[in-house]
C-alpha cells in the first residue's frame, strides 16, 4: 500500500508544480499584454508632447489663442486659434443638426417600432452609416450636397462650416443612436404603463417618462458622438474650404484641427511640423476629455 501511494502523491505533486508554472506564465502573458495598451497610450502622449515642444517653446501658450498662421520663411508664426474655433464650431453645429435626427431614430427603434421587422431593417441601416468611409462621405458632400447648397444660395461655392457640419451630422448619428436607443429600450415598462393608465398619450409618455429616465444615457450618447465629430478628417477637409481664418459665421469657410493636419502635413518640416503635432496633441486632449466625460456618465448610470 505504501508503495502504491507514494508514486501517486509524487505524481500529483509534480503535476501541480507543472501546472502552477504554466498558470504563472499564462497569467504573466495576460498581464504583459494589458501593459501594451498602457504603454501605447503613454507613448502617444509622450511622443506628441515631445514633438510639440519646439512649437510650444517658440510661441508659448499664445499658440492656443493666436490666430496668425503664417508659414512664410523668416516670418514664421503659428497659432492654432482658427483651427480650434473651426473644430468647435463645426462639431457643435453638427451635433445640433444631428440631434433631432438621432433622437427620432432612437425613438423609432427603441419605442415606436421596438423589435418589429421594420426596426430590424432600419437599425442596421443606421449602423451602416458608421461603416461608410469618411472619404466617401466627402465625395458625396462635394458632388451631391454642395451643388444643392449652391442652388440654395450658399456663398463660397458651397464650401464652408455649414456644408461640413451637415455631412458631419450624418456621420455621427449612429454613434448617438446606438447608445440612446439601447437605454430607451431599457426604460421599465411599469413606468410607461403607469403613465398610460393615467390617460397619457404616447408622446406624453415619451416626454414625461421615457426621456427623463433615459436622460443620462441619451446625453452620454450625444457627448460621445460629439467626440467623434471633433476628430473627423477627410470629409471635413473636402468640404470646409480650408481657409486658415477664424470663421466669422455659420457660412464662412474655415479649417478644423484635423483638416489642417491632413492638408499641410505633406510640405511640413521643422517648426511647422512641430506646430501641426502640437495641434494633434490639443486634439488628442480635447477628444480624450470629451470621451472621458461620456464614459463617466455611462459608468455612473451603472
Amino acid at each position: 500500500m505504501k508503495l502504491g501511494k507514494l508514486p501517486a502523491k509524487q505524481f500529483s505533486q509534480l503535476l501541480k508544480v507543472h501546472q502552477m508554472n504554466s498558470d504563472k506564465i499564462t497569467k504573466g502573458v495576460l498581464l504583459l499584454s494589458s501593459f501594451v495598451i498602457l504603454f501605447v497610450a503613454g507613448g502617444m502622449i509622450f511622443s506628441l508632447v515631445e514633438g510639440a515642444i519646439p512649437a510650444l517653446k517658440s510661441f508659448g501658450l499664445s499658440f492656443i489663442w493666436s490666430n496668425n498662421w503664417n508659414p512664410t520663411e523668416g516670418k514664421e508664426n503659428y497659432g492654432a486659434l482658427p483651427f480650434i474655433a473651426g473644430t468647435i464650431i463645426t462639431s457643435v453645429a453638427a451635433l445640433l443638426i444631428s440631434l433631432p435626427l438621432s433622437f427620432s431614430v432612437s425613438l423609432f427603434l427603441g419605442e415606436y417600432y421596438r423589435g418589429t421587422r421594420i426596426a430590424k431593417i432600419l437599425g442596421p441601416m443606421v449602423d451602416l452609416l458608421a461603416g461608410i468611409p469618411s472619404i466617401v462621405y466627402g465625395l458625396w458632400g462635394f458632388y451631391v450636397l454642395r451643388p444643392l447648397l449652391i442652388d440654395l444660395g450658399l456663398p463660397n461655392q458651397g464650401f464652408g462650416i455649414f456644408t461640413a457640419s451637415i455631412i458631419l451630422a450624418i456621420m455621427i448619428i449612429p454613434y448617438a443612436t446606438s447608445l440612446s436607443n439601447e437605454i430607451i429600450t431599457m426604460v421599465p415598462n411599469e413606468l410607461k404603463e403607469a403613465a398610460y393608465s393615467l390617460g397619457a398619450t404616447r408622446s406624453e409618455v415619451i416626454f414625461n417618462v421615457v426621456v427623463p429616465s433615459a436622460r443620462s444615457g441619451i446625453i452620454a450618447g450625444y457627448i460621445l458622438s460629439f467626440g467623434r465629430a471633433l476628430g473627423e478628417t477627410m470629409a471635413v477637409t473636402m468640404l470646409i474650404g480650408n481657409a486658415n481664418i477664424v470663421p466669422d459665421g455659420f457660412f464662412s469657410t474655415g479649417n478644423t484641427m484635423a483638416s489642417v493636419i491632413a492638408n499641410q502635413f505633406g510640405e511640413a518640416d521643422g517648426l511647422k511640423l512641430s506646430s501641426l503635432i502640437a495641434i494633434g496633441l490639443l486634439l488628442f486632449l480635447m477628444t480624450g476629455i470629451i470621451n472621458a466625460i461620456g464614459k463617466f456618465i455611462i459608468k455612473r448610470m451603472g
Partner: protein, 307 residues
C-alpha cells in the same frame, strides 16, 4: 430613480390641473399623431443618405468595374486625358490600391488581434483589479482618438526612426492602434456572456489555465470574437487620413512593407485631386463600399446566428 418619480409627479400635477374635455383630448391625440409623424419623417431623412450614397456610387461607378479594374494599376494622367477626350472609359484599375489595402489590413490585424484578444481575456479574468480598470479606461479613451492623430503617432514612431521614409509598416501600425481597443472591448464583452459554469467545469477537471483559455474560452466565444474582429477590419478598411501621413501612396504594386504603399482610400484621394482621373473615384469608392458592406453584413450574420 429620483428623476423619474419627480417627473411623474410633475406630470401628474400638470394633468390634474388641466380639465379633460373632449376638445382637450382630441388636441392631445392630434399632438401625439403629429409627433409620431415627425419621428417617422426624421427617421426617413436619417437613413436617406445611405440609400442616396450607394445609389450614386453604383450609378456613376458600375461601368468602370471590370476584371481590368481589379488587376491593373492606374493609368498616368496623360493616358487618362487621352481616354477622356476620346470619350472612352479610363483604362487601368486600382490593383496597387487593392494589394496595398490588403497588405496593410492583414499586417494591422496580425499586430492588433493577438494583443487585443489577450488583453480582453485579461480584463475578463480580473474584473475588479485596479490595473484592469485602468487598462479598460485607457482602451476606451484610445478608441476615441481621432485617426489623424494616430497617423501622426505612426509617423513619429515608424516613418522617421525605423523605415526612414513613408511605409506600409507605418500605415499598418496606425491602423492597428485604431483596431486594438475595438478588439479588446469586443473580446471582453463576448467572454462575459459565456456561462461561468463552462469555465468552472474545465478548471475542476484540472485543466491548465492556458488550455482553459485556448480550448474553452476562445472556442466558445469564437463567433463573438470574429464579429468584433470583422467590424474592426471594416472600420480600418476605409481609413484615409492616417495613411496620408504614413503609407503616402505609390503608383505601382508594392508588397515591401518598408516602402510607400497605396491603398484604395488613398487612390480615391489622388483621383479626386486629379481632374483627368476624377472619373475613377466612383468605381473605386464602389469597390471600397462593397468590401466594407460585405464585412459588415457577414459580421452581423455571425452575430445573429450566435444569439
Amino acid at each position: 430613480m429620483p428623476l423619474v418619480s419627480s417627473s411623474l409627479n410633475e406630470w401628474g400635477n400638470m394633468n390634474s390641473a388641466a380639465k379633460i374635455t373632449v376638445a382637450n383630448l382630441s388636441r392631445r391625440t392630434l399632438k401625439d399623431k403629429l409627433f409620431k409623424g415627425l419621428v417617422l419623417f426624421m427617421s426617413l431623412i436619417t437613413i436617406s443618405p445611405i440609400v442616396l450614397i450607394i445609389y450614386k456610387l453604383v450609378e456613376k461607378g458600375y461601368r468602370q468595374i471590370s476584371l481590368d479594374f481589379i488587376i491593373k494599376t492606374p493609368p498616368n494622367t496623360f493616358e487618362a486625358m487621352t481616354a477622356l477626350s476620346n470619350g472612352e472609359l479610363i483604362p487601368g484599375g486600382i490593383a496597387n490600391g487593392i494589394t496595398g489595402t490588403l497588405l496593410m489590413v492583414v499586417l494591422a490585424s496580425v499586430i492588433a488581434i493577438p494583443v487585443g484578444v489577450i488583453t480582453g481575456i485579461y480584463l475578463y479574468e480580473n474584473p475588479g483589479k485596479l490595473l484592469a480598470n485602468l487598462t479598460r479606461n485607457i482602451s476606451d479613451i484610445l478608441q476615441g482618438v481621432p485617426s489623424i492623430v494616430l497617423g501622426l503617432i505612426a509617423y513619429m514612431w515608424i516613418v522617421k526612426p525605423i523605415t526612414s521614409g513613408f511605409s506600409a509598416l507605418a500605415g499598418s501600425v496606425s491602423l492597428s492602434i485604431m483596431m486594438l481597443p475595438m478588439i479588446v472591448r469586443s473580446t471582453e464583452e463576448t467572454l462575459k456572456m459565456i456561462p461561468e459554469s463552462i469555465k468552472e467545469a474545465a478548471v475542476a477537471l484540472g485543466v491548465p489555465y492556458y488550455k482553459v483559455i485556448l480550448r474553452v474560452l476562445i472556442p466558445t466565444g469564437f463567433s463573438g470574437l470574429l464579429t468584433g474582429i470583422l467590424l474592426g477590419i471594416s472600420r480600418i478598411l476605409g481609413e484615409t487620413a492616417p495613411l496620408m501621413l504614413t503609407a503616402l501612396g505609390s503608383s505601382v504594386i508594392n508588397l515591401d512593407i518598408t516602402k510607400p504603399t497605396s491603398a484604395i482610400p488613398l487612390l480615391i484621394w489622388e483621383f479626386y485631386n486629379d481632374p483627368n482621373m476624377v472619373d475613377l473615384i466612383w468605381s473605386s469608392s464602389l469597390l471600397l463600399m462593397g468590401m466594407v458592406l460585405t464585412l459588415n453584413l457577414v459580421s452581423k450574420r455571425i452575430a445573429a446566428r450566435t444569439k
